[in-house]
Symmetry: C2
Subunit: 380 residues, 2 copies
């Protein structure tokens, strides 16, 4: 592409022009007013929202209008289980669980094992299935309410949603998925059917659905919004995040299949330290002397950007880090140490919750209040 | 098409050149030797096979080889439930149930409610579902073994087969279904996925599958044969029938949506008589005198063709009817009367069995020996 970057639900490359994506996708920027209103109704600040990591939306204002009138909305997000989860994936789930807590919303989490197998990310469906079961532990560890959250795997829950998927699919033809997703004659017929499966959970309730996701997933919701009302449902709302940049530099997104770019949620303290020291791209100067004199550039410094996007909750501390870095008072190595401490602490707590998640798996997937309700439903 | 006819799984028009279809589809003719071998192993004659109504095949010889070696094969056929079943549909099921009896084969019968809805034959999935439940009674009435037959509806059984469908779908791309079925950019993504669902039951056992069907369904089996072995299954075998011609003349096939062309399995004796008298295209002459002098043409005479294809079991009687018609001794009205008697008798017995079928529905779909086994299986 002549933009020098490309964003589809299955790959991101180049340095993304986020403002241009808003225009290309036809979404809305989250304005300062809307941001304030969201935080006000949530009753709590959230640094990732404050700092514009979630920067784009569809119908977030309508969601908040509903909420103010006492009408519930529900949350929906998902995960394509083709490998281990990394920090970039975690952000989405921590944000979703924060929204669940603040707004008391039912939350549906889809594990798209069919998608990942059909995308040919994994050799076998068995492998995808293994990753699904692994990833669910990381998802639960993000702190969801076991009675208000339903986590499901497409190939297991399909019996309850196929009729509705077929209704969705009848409204979407191949020309449309070719235009929206860039599918071609080479695309297998399962993969070109798959968008119907990803749309279905946005129709799980008659209430409005809010989808926290990275901006690359928006094409699905554009399609959803074209057809939802004709099926008797509301158009989905979404809030779109930027991508956590890969450790190796600000182009593209973190990839589970390029281990040097990512910190996995299962990495040890040692691995975290080694990866950040070895792979993190910094905005520091070539020598300490130069750095002291001219200062570093935080806007391309991955350790700084990770702190800003997720790991440093305190905006005051973040400002000081930035100022010190620009002034040359803080060295790149010191920035890395700050990040290492934050990430290590985060992963340590995450892993503790991940261990406890094993006992909760059945509650989220089958026996919890919402899960039980969902297994009794056949959508059509 | 310049052949003056067209045959796809979803429409047939014009006067079909059956020999040319064998070449176009790449199937084999059922030779006299193969026919004799089939009837010998069946241990019983069957007039529809003797008379070449089933005229084409794939791997029927391999099926019979398997059987001679003591290896079981299984039967698979299906029905797209978009309306009431007519006599043309019945032939397939009566043949399949005959094969089941003669060879003791497990039999799987798929109700493709998803297909018919996605094809936009019915307005709603609820309507398709209603027809599925209705059609199943006609299918059971064809005399299947309740312990060796599993009848299922795609949208109900999907939970057990979706994983395998996804594996099949990954092996078929859009270019292929465009070439095989004529799909276009206008084809909805559910309908273009559907061939995977129709292929799955041919993989229900590791044994070879034999599919009795009308020749128009062959494109599905051609696809199946391209991919079955790579998934660890055998290529499907098939025997292909000609179409029972519409009452109104030998072009096209009977259509449930053109009531004047068909006798429904639920028609009353009165309706049968009226339809045949009013709509049956005959090979008779314009006046009785002419007919007596020049004779009729049985090869375009629909009542005669129906007797030949299905309703007159005795080849001796059929020959006399033909000879008398050609000689002008038998009038078109008399030919119609012979057919009316046969059809009325057939439908009367069918309807008696159809009533009894209500009690057997659960056995075939859930509680019978094979059905229970199938509900316990997840194919992947």
């Amino acid at each position: 592409m002549d933009e020098g970057y490309s964003v589809t639900p299955w790959s991101v490359s180049g340095v993304v022009d986020y403002d241009k994506l808003i225009k290309d996708f036809g979404t809305q920027p989250i304005t300062p007013d809307l941001k304030e209103r969201l935080l006000y109704l949530a009753g709590e600040r959230h640094h990732s929202i404050e700092r514009g990591i979630y920067y784009s939306h569809r119908d977030l204002d309508a969601v908040l209008n509903d909420f103010e009138k006492g009408n519930k909305f529900f949350l929906y997000t998902g995960r394509g289980p083709s490998g281990p989860m990394h920090i970039g994936h975690a952000i989405q789930f921590y944000m979703t669980s924060w929204l669940q807590k603040r707004f008391g919303a039912n939350t549906y989490i889809q594990l798209t094992d069919d998608e990942k197998y059909l995308e040919e990310k994994n050799e076998s469906l068995e492998e995808t299935n293994k990753w699904a079961k692994d990833n669910i532990l990381d998802i639960i560890a993000a702190g969801f309410d076991p009675e208000k959250t339903f986590i499901f795997q497409d190939t297991e829950y399909i019996g309850n949603i196929y009729k509705l998927a077929v209704k969705v699919a009848r409204k979407i033809n191949f020309s449309v998925v070719r235009a929206v997703f860039g599918f071609t004659g080479e695309t297998n017929i399962g993969f070109s059917f798959y968008p119907a499966i990803q749309i279905v959970p946005s129709l799980f309730e008659k209430n409005r659905c809010l989808i926290p996701c990275a901006i690359d997933q928006d094409p699905f919701w554009r399609l959803q919004r074209d057809i939802a009302e004709s099926l008797g449902y509301k158009k989905a709302a979404a809030i779109h995040s930027k991508f956590l940049p890969p450790l190796t530099g600000i182009a593209g997104k973190m990839s589970a299949s390029a281990p040097e770019t990512a910190i996995y949620l299962t990495d040890t303290a040692n691995e975290i330290r080694k990866k950040i020291w070895k792979n993190a791209f910094t905005g520091g100067k070539a020598t300490i002397e130069e750095h002291r004199r001219f200062g570093g550039n935080p806007d391309v410094d991955v350790p700084y950007l990770w702190l800003e996007m997720f790991f440093e909750e305190s905006s005051a501390r973040l400002k000081k880090i930035r100022d010190d870095y620009v002034a040359g008072k803080l060295l790149s190595g010191e920035m890395k140490e700050i990040l290492i401490e934050k990430v290590t602490k985060f992963i340590e707590l995450h892993q503790q919750r991940r261990e406890k998640a094993r006992e909760l798996l059945d509650t989220f997937m089958h026996s919890g209040k919402l899960a039980k309700l969902m297994w009794d439903k056949i959508y059509s």
